[in-house]
Symmetry: D2
Subunit: 490 residues, 4 copies
């Protein structure tokens, strides 16, 4: 029987962010607005989504497998989500397994009322906490690390909601940008390192929490500010109140958000993502110059860096690879003979633009390397005289434990090959990666502060900024970089 | 209750081609290959698709509403389509109404065996023929003009299949690129003017018929040649045979295929679509120069012309408008208040790239003008100092009757406004359309031959190259250009 | 892998009627009333159903796989069926293959307007006519014999609808009780032998056509009369008009309708089905008396005959076999071990009622004999001292070609065994079938008139009352009974 | 818009049992056998069902809305349920609200392994316990009282599973027949009064727990014995072990199981249900004799009592009311005019059997009385000279809190009318209910022991055998009848 699977050359060979969150407090049609916000955050997770709303007396929950536009555009669905307060979540399926029971926001009726929570990021001590809670009789209904937070709030001995929430999040390690909804308030919270993004917005006086600014733009909301690393912001009818329940630490925002995850029209901490990517491309042209006729992006993720490269190098930018807009996730592979045809489901090189040319090919990153290999071959088959691959980030060498779907280290091309070997593997005439210092420079830093790195760049450097309790198998094993960085959450 | 409808500023304000066709003769896994070919032609119609295969003794039919990747990637579906010969069709729903019974290919067991047919184009005398056939007792099971062809073949008094097919197509007026499958042969046929494209390909000795060359590229097939206007090509186990059943005429290929319909990586009659669009952009820069800081495409259809414009004008090209890749066809509009928010479901302007700049905005065409109005406004809201709109085609003034979904003339902005009025309407600082002569020049013509136009450009010129019998309401009114075989409608 | 199939002992070992028809003319909410009528006729076909309505200007068609209560109770479906005239059909899937395209009523836009038709029965010359029509260019969109009638009407050279209809039905052989709807009238028609039932009803002045009187009862309509064999009744705004387009013949109503097909609360030609079945039971007690303690029906089809038997024999009637009301058509058979367990999905014998008793078991008929074998065994396993099987019809020896799903003759137990062999096969202490004369006597006849039988009893006697053209394979072979108009097949 | 609702005269005016449970330990294809067992228990709950299996290392859960035959006959579903141990549940939707999250068995990974539980019955202190647990931080993921049991086991401080289970069930009040599955054992448990049934069976050495014996019969399993009231039976690889964790009390089995809930072929505590119903009918004939021509059951629930009545009274038994076997739960009610037609979706009186007759109509119970009213009218409309209604149970005056769906007391006809008023209301010539003493006599008792009633008959007597903590709103309020009866659970 035929396998239903992704054809090898069509696999989307990228790291994948696992979530987007969005909430609005005090606005008519709140759920409809959350649906729009999540639609703008769809690139952060496409497998499933959910919205919880509150109408002053009751909570309403809708969770569905599939895209926002497939589920949350149905009037029947939106109409069931009454109320002027709502939070939502869109997710990539890997973390915690798929299935409806893992779709967020999670909701429970606690002793003092309903409590809903949506989470972007990943905890590094969730299994450890879960085992402790189960011994005390807590029953978990999902395999998601996020449910752990819900149970910590539920079993806290503190009296009021804020104190219970603080009690809960203080026990967490890892990355968490949270949006929670109770019968009185909406709460936003970022882990002390601020690994995942979270911004505060304003729509005609109603507060919004969102993963990225593009989710404010879609509804014409005003960007107020980024929620600060380690900040817990509580939104009620009387406005916002901020708490800082964690020991202060220097922030370590995920640098890969700039490389690939965030939408180019979003801005984080004052940096516009599109402009950062163009500067990355310019820096790449500086670090790895090449004599060539045209610069071609691997669409669409390589496009801004390719434009930056082309402008800096003075080489014409061309759309030499055309992307099929109707690519779904899977395609038929009925027989070996078809699999071996090497069909071009996703991309096609435009021979007329390429034939006889020396081509600079710009992509954002190399993960397993299989896609790069196929694309170089496709460009060669279209008649390129030379193919020079330029990668808009350093080699990715280590997995992420902070809410990003990454293959195990052994599958990362850069973890088992030198650049020379990779050049051979993808059969390019030359291959150049952006340096880690160059990446920091594109972010307007003088360079990486190795004593106290300004970003989380563990996927390039293996320098994890938090404990990895669940990985270590031992609560006593401290991660060196955490100790070295001085701060940790205990 | 809430309306489920397209928000006004999100409506896809374009002409829409209505079909793509694909067939392969004599190749294992024929249906799987047709599915791949149709996937590459998905831009020509997204509402529904079908495949008919033949295994030497039996025909198999699968027709589904939805994308190829949603339906024809299921092993169960493909496995039901036995055989080494298959044809397929992907369609845009407008012509003949939606519903499964209108999904092509059409199939019938005729007296001498099964007969399947797939059609790109539109007949201009289908209703007239249908009335005649019904009077003779023919029963129509769809509302599609294509079924008319099937009945003409079925009721022909000729003896063999070729003669019956010729008998049928000779009665047709309008645009038709056909692929048919019988128990002996696959037949391709283009109307005498060659209004819609159809190419012949070869995959390791198996013949392919396809609407565009990109459908050959996806499976690595070789482009052999375009099927000629007025040619009927019959493919059997013994090779191909060509017939020319129509009175010879000069060809009138649809010029709008170059402007918008065809995929940029396709080539038609020797012209690469991407390169034509770049030349259109360059020509546009020549015709309507402007002092500006950046050139921004309306993605994705305006991109090649924008690149051409930028290169010719020496102004930097920027992706100032970001497209949401997860746009479905409809989105919620629960209340007036949300409808009036002017949400940006599909596009977002990137303020950082635009603020304070003089912007050239390049789009492929203006139909109703509503999208242009919204996009100009969005770019202004993002801080542009000036917005100069440049359109990569002449003003569209007239509906198409040849297989393109166009609004009625009264809804076409250019049919009721001058360029000055349109500039005001879309609130641009300036507005420039490519001239009809410029468009022909981008196609390497010296200009339009008004006595015998080289292309069908009726949507710009109202010069329809065939009779419009169903429109005219009279069978006796002959269309001058048909009589003159080379004349035109003026 | 597990087979999804009917467990052997659970197969419904019965002949199956293939259709029920219903129409109403001139009543608000016509489609809703048709749905109710079809619901009452659901026992005549459970695989699929359809309704066509007409609102004075337009026809509306809904056809669905599944039960009436699953599909035609949805307000959205009923609301799409506008108008005060409607006809409907419910079908058993065997004839002509399954699939939506075979679901009736069939509808076509003919030259003089829409025409819908629903058919109970089966034509014995449909394939022969179809081949002729295909040679003339007719295109068939289903594999149902009913579509043939539609094409005959469409291709008739007659001018007005009545004449075209008459022209069509005169060419038919076999069994047909038809209900048709045009833009002017509703037409009912029974074949000249009246093989299948069709009654005329009245609901507050609106005429109704229905397969059985129980479909009048459900809506409180008044029974007017049976449509006569060979009658064509035309209902318009001005009332009814009758035509007799066929050569007169003695009627041959299907006697098996009394034995099993019709609902017990229906009446046909003055005979109430329940009362006939009780008389059959009494006659059976007379023909095959037995010394026993209790009479038990095989539920539910054997119940009226068992009551009749028990009353006539003076033996207590008991519900010794309990039927599971939730039996679907299929059940799991994951492994051989479970298949060999002999699970009792449909029936269970109640040990307490049976243990130590001499049991008379009454069933309506024996087809393959497998169910009888299992049920006798089940009753024995429950402790019965003796099991005497009594069958409320003669041995079924021959297939039906008039709209009943029957196995081929070789699979009919009675066609390959004597009564003695059958007694052994089902392992009963004794086995008695009603005689053919006894069956006629239960219908108040003195006996069967072998020269001119009063009923069609071909499944018992092989005496087919019409030509079987498609079976014979020769158009020239005339069936004697047709020529003789009152003769029979011997 | 049309309402999708049950037509008034078609509402199923009965009490409804809410659950059936089934488990098997140590048998290949365990889940397939559970599906068969649940199919036999389908009459105890039709809205949803679930199965949990265990294969020695992992648990597998499938829960679906709909009938067993709709969901658990799919090989794909059954094949996902690996292992030789499995329990299942079929439910009626009312208790705890509908929705998949309330479908049983419930399953959780507790600290010492997986734990699944299925429950027939209803707790009368679940809300009270739930509030306490929530205060301690337990998170409930359903609205079902059964989840409470799961949390009590999870939060028990006892060490081993048996002790934790005992700790949990000792806190419960109300009715509970439980089947639980852990990674080591299957546990059955009945509340101390044994209100709901539970039997132990044996299939070739594998133990089975089931609500009724008919679920043993379907798979040919042997009935071993009833699980005793207050017994906890633990099944492991080493056999069974019994515990009696509750203070001993006299049993109070639900007497309504004999009247209506249980399947007639089941036996409880030595009484065969069909035989009890026949004796009820005979007792009814004795208590309320009548001069009549025929005895007609309201099918199917009144049939055994009607047979008993007819035999005792010497009046012929007739199937005068025919039931439509294809009744779904809802039917269209598009307009007032159709609603007022009084359509007969479910039953039809057979005029020929009834006309001119004096009819005894036998039904099992009267709840709201609306159905009785319609049926009496229907029998009168069919020409009955007299209609004498006989009810095979005492008047139902009080709601049930032990797992039966009953209307509030104010909607029970007998709670607001005398028998004379009821006779008028249903427009019968006479109306007779079985006496409470007569009901006990049909169960071979000399009569009801009012000091210590042998059964729970609260729906007739308001004598509730347990505390109704959640109802009382106060944990200190003792129910008088419980005190008076001497025994209670503390």
């Amino acid at each position: 029987m035929a396998d239903e699977c992704i054809l090898p050359d069509e696999a989307d060979d990228h790291f994948h962010d696992e979530c987007g969150v969005f909430g609005i407090f005090g606005r008519k049609d709140a759920a409809a607005i959350v649906a729009l916000g999540l639609h703008a955050l769809q690139h952060r997770g496409q497998e499933a989504a959910g919205i919880v709303s509150f109408d002053g007396s009751q909570f309403f929950v809708e969770r569905h497998i599939g895209l926002i536009s497939d589920n949350f555009t149905k009037p029947a669905v939106i109409e069931r989500l009454h109320g002027s307060r709502a939070i939502g979540h869109t997710r990539y399926a890997t973390a915690g397994g798929s299935g409806l029971r893992n779709v967020q926001p999670f909701f429970a009726e606690l002793a003092d009322g309903g409590f809903a929570i949506a989470h972007n990021g990943n905890l590094t001590n969730a299994s450890t906490i879960q085992r402790t809670l189960q011994k005390q009789g807590s029953i978990f209904s999902s395999t998601s690390d996020t449910e752990t937070i819900l149970h910590l709030v539920a079993t806290s001995k503190e009296k009021d909601t804020n104190a219970r929430f603080i009690d809960g999040v203080r026990q967490l390690e890892g990355a968490f940008s949270l949006v929670a909804l109770t019968n009185k308030k909406m709460i936003g919270c970022r882990d002390p390192l601020g690994i995942r993004p979270l911004v505060l917005g304003d729509l005609d006086g109603s507060y919004i929490l969102a993963s990225e600014t593009c989710a404010l733009d879609i509804i014409g909301a005003r960007y107020v500010r980024d929620v600060k690393p380690g900040e817990m912001i509580v939104i009620t009818d009387h406005g916002t109140e901020s708490f800082f329940p964690f020991e202060p630490q220097s922030s370590r925002f995920c640098i890969f958000e700039y490389v690939y995850f965030a939408r180019p029209d979003s801005s984080v901490e004052g940096h516009n993502v599109y402009e950062v990517r163009k500067r990355i491309g310019a820096q790449l042209a500086l670090e790895h110059p090449v004599d060539a006729d045209i610069v071609i992006p691997v669409p669409d993720s390589g496009t801004p860096a390719a434009i930056g490269f082309a402008q800096a190098a003075g080489i014409p930018f061309e759309l030499g690879i055309i992307r099929n807009h109707y690519v779904g996730r899977t395609f038929i592979q009925p027989t070996d003979s078809i699999r071996h045809m090497g069909v071009k489901l996703k991309h096609n090189a435009n021979r007329r633009s390429i034939e006889g040319k020396r081509v600079v090919l710009v992509d954002d990153s190399i993960v397993r390397g299989t896609t790069s290999q196929k694309i170089v071959q496709m460009v060669r088959d279209a008649g390129a005289k030379e193919v020079h691959m330029r990668i808009a980030s350093p080699p990715t060498r280590a997995p992420c434990f902070y809410g990003v779907d990454t293959p195990s280290a052994s599958k990362l091309l850069a973890s088992r090959m030198t650049t020379e070997e990779m050049t051979d593997f993808i059969r390019a005439n030359s291959l150049g990666f952006l340096s880690i210092e160059g990446l920091y420079r594109a972010l307007d830093e003088a360079g990486r502060n190795n004593e106290a790195p300004q970003y989380c760049d563990a996927c390039f450097t293996k320098d994890y900024p938090t404990r990895l309790t669940d990985q270590e198998g031992s609560e006593n094993l401290r991660h060196p970089s955490v100790l070295a960085a001085g701060g940790h959450n205990s």
